[in-house]
Amino acid sequence: MDIVVTSITFLIPIFLLAFILYIIRAIKGPTISDQVLAIDAMTYDVAAFLVVLSIYLRIPILTATAIVLALWIYALDIYIAKYLEKRELGE
């Protein structure tokens, strides 16, 4: 049996448990900042998970999606931060 496929098979449930805990915090977070922080951390971990999964499935062309995901979730942070700050500083 291939050592890479066997090891990643045992590592995938750990990633999934972490994603479920992140989603719980992202849904029930008391303030908007908590939710956005949880989504942010979850999405970077999803990007890491996609790279691992492309090796696991042996389809190398799927790796390019991780770059796009890591680039664009940063935009959500900046939008929410700009919205919160502008509301305080006056129109």
Binding site: I8, F15, F19, S33, A47, A48
Partner: protein
């Protein structure tokens, strides 16, 4: 040579998965937004940067991917560099906006020179 690369990469992926789980537990256990920033730091650097580097090292030494394994390695290194740059910048922007908009007060606080009224002296723990 490739065996060593595969073992190092698998160890890094395992370390990343475990620290990812630790960060998720911490995200649920901490009481405050400013405390949850610590868990987000663990989750982004140790939980995303390290496993991507490990996956790139595995891809370099993993023969069944064929000639495209260099593409996986290069895209992985670029994604890891982007995470390393963008994740702290996003967290910092979010924390600064939250503190300026006075949404969350600083709970276990000793001194807050930015805004004294945000500070709760002698927090619960």
């Amino acid at each position: 040579m490739t065996e060593v690369l595969i073992y190092i990469g698998l160890a890094l992926i395992g370390l990343g998965a475990v620290s990812d789980l630790i960060a998720a537990i911490g995200m649920n256990r901490f009481k405050n937004f400013y405390l949850r920033l610590h868990a987000a730091t663990i989750g982004t650097i140790w939980g995303a940067f390290v496993p991507i580097i490990g996956a790139s090292l595995v891809a370099i030494g993993y023969e069944p991917l064929g000639y495209y394994r260099w593409f996986v390695a290069g895209a992985g290194f670029v994604a890891a560099l982007l995470v390393l740059i963008l994740a702290p910048a996003g967290s910092h922007a979010l924390a600064r906006a939250t503190h300026r908009a006075r949404i969350v007060r600083v709970e276990p606080c000793i001194a807050d020179h930015l805004d004294e009224t945000m500070c709760i002296k002698g927090g619960s723990e």
